[in-house]
């Protein structure tokens, strides 16, 4: 049992995070000061938020590549309605509804038509971003209320308020995944969907709601993003979906579903954030930075699966069991 804990992927990346943090504190000037740590935490907010629900989606053996586009669409809706003169307090729930609707579109296409989520969300990835541009074009809506823009960057001591939001929602998502029947059902349908179905797991309904949750979380992230950068634009968050999926995989969630933990993913989000921040502070060029991040990812996808690949090569009693 104890050996098992040590061998776990989560343990490995915690050690990696600690290692990188110690190295950065010693070797990189200004890394280990409160304002930098505060900024580092703030800078991971949107990725962390979306990674929470992405973890659940990937554990259920699905994927949502449309999150960043949902974020963009939600930003565009916010900008458009704000320009139209609606109060911001009314716009925010509308944005969440837009996110829910995006998630529902994904969820219905996956569950009702039985399409693979990879294909569906690559489609809606383009669709939602396209809609965002239809709404707002190339415009940037910037005159947002200072009360909210300063709230998005405010912090208590070195801890940004946005990070507290992440922590609160992470507790919820963690409890759902690891301490409820719903969480067990998600893991079950992710590891073997037929078995889960025949043992009474409401597969389609759970999947639909996971996509809705993913959409809502993306629009929540859009609110933080828009206020944090004080600019609502159709291209907000472009490319973030890759960072989110990266964090989830680096966090030890199997791309084939069925295994993964929420704490692991949160550590991975932090690890990617720390690496990025430290390398930028150390004046490492952006290309090297992307290379290092890529390397971490390849390693993270490879490492947990190396064992599985070896097992698959050597004939075993499990041979013949479908691996899909």
């Amino acid at each position: 049992m104890r050996a098992d804990v040590l061998r776990r992927w989560e343990t490995l990346i915690v050690v990696l995070l600690a290692g990188v943090a110690v190295w950065a504190s010693l070797a990189v000037d200004n890394f280990a000061n409160a304002s930098n740590v505060s900024f580092l935490l703030l800078d991971t907010t949107e990725i962390a938020l979306m990674a929470l629900t992405m973890t659940l989606v990937v554990v259920a053996a699905e994927i949502d590549l449309s999150v960043a586009s949902t974020l963009g669409l939600s930003c565009a809706v916010l900008g458009t309605l704000w320009d139209a003169g609606l109060p911001i307090e009314a716009i925010m729930p509308i944005c969440l509804l837009v996110g829910a609707a995006c998630g529902a579109v994904n969820g219905l296409l996956v569950t009702r038509l039985g399409l693979p989520s990879l294909a569906v969300t690559i489609g809606t990835f383009a669709l939602f971003r396209g809609l965002a541009y239809v709404l707002l074009g190339g415009e940037a809506v910037a005159d947002l209320p200072p009360a909210y823009t300063s709230l998005a960057t405010a912090s208590i001591g070195p801890v940004p308020l946005a990070t507290l939001l992440v922590v609160a929602l992470a507790v919820v998502a963690g409890l759902v995944l690891h301490a409820t029947g719903l969480g067990r059902s998600i893991v079950a349908l992710g590891s073997n969907v037929e078995a889960a179905y025949f043992s009474g797991v409401r597969v389609k309904r759970i999947k639909l709601w996971l996509f809705v949750a993913s959409g809502v979380m993306a629009s929540l992230a859009s609110l933080v993003y828009t206020f944090r950068y004080a600019s609502a634009r159709a291209d907000n968050g472009m490319g973030l979906e890759l960072a989110v999926v990266a964090a989830v995989l680096l966090g030890g969630v199997s791309i084939f579903g069925g295994t993964g933990t929420l704490p692991g993913v949160l550590v991975a989000v932090l690890l990617l954030g720390v690496v990025r921040n430290a390398l930028i502070l150390a004046d490492v060029r952006n290309e090297v930075l992307n290379f290092v991040t890529g390397l971490l990812l390849v390693a993270s996808v490879l490492a947990p699966n190396l064992g599985a690949v070896r097992r698959r090569r050597t004939p075993s009693p499990a041979e013949g069991k479908s691996v899909t």
Binding site: D29, N30, F31, N33, S35, N36, F39, D43, W82, D83, G85, L86, P87, I88, E89, A90, P93, I94, L96, L97, A100, L108, T111, R112, G137, G138, E139, A140, A142, D143, L144, P145, P146, A147, Y148, T149, T153, R202, V203, K204, R205, L208, V212, Y229, A230, S231, R233, D235, N236, G237, M238, G239, R276, N277, I280, L281, D283, N286, E287, N290
Partner: protein, 360 residues
């Protein structure tokens, strides 16, 4: 297995929306009122000492829209060279994607590194402002160059040439080449690039003059400052308007991609191309007849001037107030204009006769 439509939560949320809407809240006009009633924080000349010496060892960071963009590589090298001249230390840092949010990450790290000045070309005039305000609060001087930020984000804006000069002269250049007649198109960078859009407004205004009555601007296309996208957009323009007489591309990436497409197409020499480009990039196309003439300011000079402006601010020679002057090495004296703008000068036109005199 059936999935029930989640009516209840939807109704609940909708109710909430109506409720908050009815109770009133913060709207765009509220914010505008607040802003107009707040006193404008204009820079004052108080505290500027034109005779103060440039401080030694100033740390100046150049934050372009995007690294590995040849234009910014040249401009930032000009800035770093200037820093060497006045005994400072210059460096270029920045994202490889041209997005506003990744620039913010860099601004924050520059604050941590306690730079003396940040020289930035903004991807989004507003999104970088909160971070730049923090930088200024930390005593860092901010100079925008090439593409301005909102005014409260910087001390001084070093402008390549007046937007008006650039917009109007590009139309004049093209009009001369097509005999003031025919359909024309613009191939721009991104739809929200501040500088491009201002130039395009001046182009449209110039086109209103009677001598251009036979010229018609049929489309503004966007290549997103991406080589491939600009190439396909050019292709698309000529497919949609086979009788196009000319293209203005006010971006170095766009004009090079358009020239490459034209030079290999039957439109070579027939469809005129002009805009903003660098001599090294376009020399071959000027020599093979694809391009007659194009223009640009000298980007190395732009970075050089921005570097001196940053040093002048950090040394207390100027504060960004109108009418203050500073010395910018080989470029001589420059004066801060209205809204903290410093002008580099009129654009240079490059053609067969002079292109070999320039190497950048």
């Amino acid at each position: 297995m059936t999935t029930r439509t989640p009516w209840r939560p939807v109704a609940l949320l909708a109710g909430l929306v109506l409720l908050t809407g009815a109770c009133g809240g913060t709207t765009k006009s509220d914010v505008q009122q607040q802003q107009s009633s707040a006193p404008a924080a204009g820079a004052s000349s108080a505290g500027a000492n034109p005779n103060a010496p440039i401080k030694q060892g100033l740390k100046i960071a150049f934050l372009p829209k995007q690294v590995n963009n040849p234009y910014f590589t040249i401009a930032d090298k000009g800035g770093v060279d200037a820093a060497k001249e006045f005994g400072g230390e210059g460096k270029e840092v920045g994202p490889s994607d041209a997005s506003a949010s990744s620039q913010v990450s860099y601004i924050n790290t520059l604050i941590q590194q306690k730079q003396d000045a940040i020289v930035i070309s903004a991807n989004d005039p507003n999104a970088v402002v909160p971070a730049l305000k923090q930088a200024r609060a930390a005593g860092i001087k901010v100079v925008s160059y090439d593409s301005d930020t909102a005014q409260e984000g910087r001390d001084v804006f070093v402008n390549q040439a007046s937007a008006e000069d650039l917009g109007r002269t590009e139309v004049q250049l093209l009009a001369k080449q097509i005999g003031n007649k025919g359909k024309i198109a613009v191939l721009s960078a991104t739809p929200n690039a501040t500088n491009q859009n201002t130039w395009i407004e001046f182009m449209k205004d110039e086109l209103k003059k009677p001598e251009y009555q036979d010229m018609e601007l049929v489309k503004v296309a966007y290549g997103n400052d991406d080589d491939q996208k600009s190439f396909t957009e050019t292709q698309g323009l000529l497919r949609s308007y086979p009788d196009l007489a000319g293209i203005i591309s006010p971006t170095t990436v766009g004009i090079a991609a358009a020239a490459r497409y034209l030079s290999d197409s039957p439109y070579k020499g027939k469809v005129k191309l002009t805009g903003l480009g660098t001599p090294n990039q376009l020399r071959k196309f000027v020599k093979d007849g694809t391009i007659e003439a194009f223009e640009l300011w000298n980007p190395a000079d732009l970075g050089y001037l921005a570097s001196y402006a940053a040093a002048a601010l950090a040394s207390g020679q100027i504060t960004g107030g109108e009418g203050e002057t500073f010395k910018a090495g080989r470029l001589g004296d420059h004066t801060v204009g209205a809204k903290g703008e410093v002008l580099l000068g009129k654009p240079t036109v490059f053609d067969k006769s002079n292109i070999d005199d320039f190497d950048f």
